[in-house]
């Protein structure tokens, strides 16, 4: 077993990047991602990591530098939040189209306006369809672990997709948690140096980033979609290998007290831990409530999700972003499309809660479950509410 130490989650993330022996780091500061970049710059300044480190002039360039370095075969890392993610979003679609396995941590933060530095998932939802593998992690240990997991998965020749680790800003990025660090020898065993399938080098000239006419574009997109969906077995395989190494096994969908539960809370990210406390309380009162946590957002694990909610009567989805003028919360829309056509599928009640970092305590989850129960029993099968708004 590795050493267990109390450390800020952002520091742990930076340590993991160091342990991956990343070659190029390029980033631009934005709250709440800053501590990762700051700590990485210290690591490089102290010679603990042999990497080219650039604090560039914008997030757009931060990711663009990584695109250049990754394309020559260098393992590259960047991280950002909210406005930064919005600024570099143009490039996210290009990175996945080019099949460059860059890893990016997003310390999730609210998108302006109004300006807010606090946490929700509006930034992640903006680039939902950018074609990256997208994880939502629940605690500091998962952040640390997923840096290794992401590189190994992304760089696998049967995958070759970039990966985003979404971690809630402040609630994860700025808290001190006990983290079990993994010995370097184990990491070296788990993650070998990046061996690109294609790279830019004069010894084997290739053209990357050619333009496509309508006569060929659809074929390239189809190839990309098929490739991302068929990387699921690899994603699972890497999680399994990581579990064998550390004892920590991860799944695309995690359940807690869900077996046979009538009502299931559905969460993504750090809400999972708070919601599990609420579930314990409700269980203690003899209520049949469980929890389903989505860890893998892209490719969306439709089958695992369906299995996890089979038999439940009510689903209470907790979204953390508003889809203004759209089909309510983005997670709920995914859930609905996953279950569409499923016989006797559960009623789905959608809450958007905790946007811009507003506190959501265990009692709030209980209140949401209660509210959903009343509404559903009164016949409102697909309710939606922005929870806790003062009116």
């Amino acid at each position: 077993m590795g050493k267990r130490v109390g450390m800020e989650v952002s520091i742990a993330a930076a340590e993991a990047v160091k342990q991956c022996n990343v070659d190029v780091v390029s980033a631009y500061p934005i709250t709440p991602q800053t501590h990762i970049v700051e700590h990485l710059s210290e690591i490089v300044a102290n010679g603990e990591l042999d990497a080219e480190f650039f604090c560039v002039e914008s997030e757009h360039s931060a990711l663009s530098v990584c695109v250049g370095s990754e394309a020559v075969g260098a393992r590259s890392f960047t991280c950002t939040s909210a406005q930064g993610l919005a600024l570099l979003s143009e490039i996210t679609y290009i990175v996945s189209g080019l099949r460059l396995p860059i890893v990016m941590i997003v310390a999730n933060r609210t998108l302006s306006a109004p300006l807010s530095i606090w946490n929700d998932h509006s930034d992640a939802m903006m680039i939902r369809d950018c074609g990256w593998i997208q994880y939502f992690v629940e605690n500091g240990q998962e952040v640390y672990d997923h840096v290794f997991i992401s590189y190994r998965t992304a760089e696998d020749r049967e995958v070759l997709f970039p990966a985003i680790i979404n971690m809630d800003g402040f609630t994860l990025s700025h808290v001190i948690e006990p983290i079990e660090l993994i010995e370097q020898e184990k990491i070296d065993q788990f993650l070998s140096p990046y061996q690109p399938l294609y790279s830019l080098h004069p010894d084997h000239p290739v053209t990357m980033g050619a333009f496509a006419l309508p006569s060929i574009f659809a074929e390239t997109k189809k190839a990309q979609e098929v490739a991302l969906c068929s990387s699921m077995p690899k994603i699972l395989e890497v999680w399994k290998a990581f579990g064998d190494l550390t004892g920590r096994y991860y799944r695309p969908i995690e359940t807690y007290q869900a077996e046979g539960a009538d009502t299931l809370l559905i969460t993504m990210g750090s809400f999972g831990e708070t919601a599990s406390v609420a579930v314990d309380q409700m269980r203690a009162e003899g209520r049949s409530v469980g929890l389903v946590k989505i860890r893998l957002w892209r490719p969306f694990p439709f089958d695992d999700f369906k299995n996890a909610v089979k038999g439940a009567k009510h689903l209470v989805v907790i979204d953390r972003a508003v889809s203004v003028g759209g089909p309510k919360g983005p997670v709920a829309s995914e859930v609905k499309s996953a279950l569409y056509g499923m016989e006797g599928h559960p009623a789905i009640y959608d809450f958007v809660a905790g946007i811009s970092g507003r506190d959501v305590a265990p009692i709030d989850f209980i209140k949401m479950v209660d509210k959903a129960k009343i509404e559903i029993e009164e016949g409102n099968q697909e309710g939606y509410e922005l929870y806790g708004v003062r009116e």
Binding site: E57, V65, G68, V72, G73, I91, I94, T207, F211
Partner: protein
């Protein structure tokens, strides 16, 4: 004299082509000629990062490519950042002994729009960080790829689809942005202007840029018959006239010191250059005179700088 030298010395250039024939540029395109010469000058040990624009579109229709060297296109405004990442990645990999050490040039290439407008920030960042790379702006004085819209590099008076001639406006109402001066203001070791009508000069400058450590910036005037509404067979002549009239002087800025690559004691009348281009067709005598005055003033200032060695 210099003209003759240029004509014959062309034969001293390598016959190897790294930019293959069969591309889709328009007839008489001097921008693609510039690209071909740059590719010749740099040889095979190069990685090209190319911005969105004419040169990207004419050379890379999937599944074909005109490029016999590694070539990369990512987006419109980030080419300097991409090329700096290429340089950084190679540096890290060589230092960590994961690829053999050898000199590989990271070349960024973008049009005037991709350089002077939307890509200026990324370019400034890359120059300031001091990457060992070459940045080439192929300046055809408008956004040609998207249909001849104005850029900040479009000259005063030129009509484009977004600086049209109307009842109250006479084409572009702003003066051409001085990109080489902006690049030089970053205190980089090498800045130069070039034009494919002077191929030897162009090739020499590109080779010099390759030999220098640190960022180098070369601004290449590239005649575009489609956008300039000029006859395709006049492209080389027009490039010469741009230089001989003082509209586009050829010079270098080495470690901050300016010097002219060729000097003309007497500039040719600007009218000779302007009259061959449909984009200037509407210009009145007064406007032409105004342009000529400005060009002369700027040329004198440049000459003075070069004379004083600053």
């Amino acid at each position: 004299m210099t003209e003759n030298l240029n004509v014959f010395a062309v034969r001293t250039l390598t016959q190897k082509e790294y930019f293959a024939p069969g591309h889709r540029a328009c007839q008489g395109c001097a921008e693609v000629l510039a690209v071909r010469l740059v590719a010749k000058a740099l040889g095979r040990n190069v990685i090209v990062s190319n911005a969105t624009g004419c040169m990207e579109i004419v050379s890379s229709p999937l599944p074909f490519t005109s490029w016999r060297v590694p070539w990369f296109h990512v987006a419109f405004e980030n080419t300097a950042a991409v090329a700096s990442g290429v340089e950084a990645g190679l540096k890290a990999l060589m230092r960590k002994r994961r690829i053999p050490r050898k000199k590989i040039i990271s070349l960024a290439m973008a049009g005037d729009g991709g350089t002077a407008d939307i890509g200026l920030q990324a370019l400034s960042g890359a120059l300031e960080r001091g990457h060992d790379m070459i940045y080439i702006c192929t300046d055809n004085e408008a956004y040609m790829n998207t249909g001849i819209q104005r850029s900040s590099s479009t000259p005063f008076g030129a009509s484009t689809t977004t600086s049209p001639v109307g009842k109250v406006k006479m084409g572009q109402i702003t003066w051409k942005k001085n990109m080489p001066a902006i690049a030089a203001a970053h205190n980089i070791p090498y800045v130069a202007t070039a034009c494919p009508s002077y191929p030897i000069d162009l090739v020499q400058k590109v080779k010099k840029a390759a030999a220098i450590e640190g960022p180098a910036y070369i601004h290449i005037l590239s005649v575009c018959p489609t956008g300039w509404r000029s006859a395709p067979e006049l492209s080389i002549k027009l490039g010469r006239l741009a230089v001989e009239t003082g509209v586009f002087p050829l010079y270098e800025v080495e470690n901050g010191k300016y010097h002219l690559s060729m000097d003309f004691p007497k500039l040719k009348p600007i009218r000779e250059y302007i009259k061959l281009q449909g984009r200037f067709r509407h210009l009145t005598d007064d406007l032409i005179e105004e342009i000529e005055k400005r060009v002369q003033k700027e040329y004198e200032a440049l000459k003075e700088r070069a004379k004083q060695g600053v």
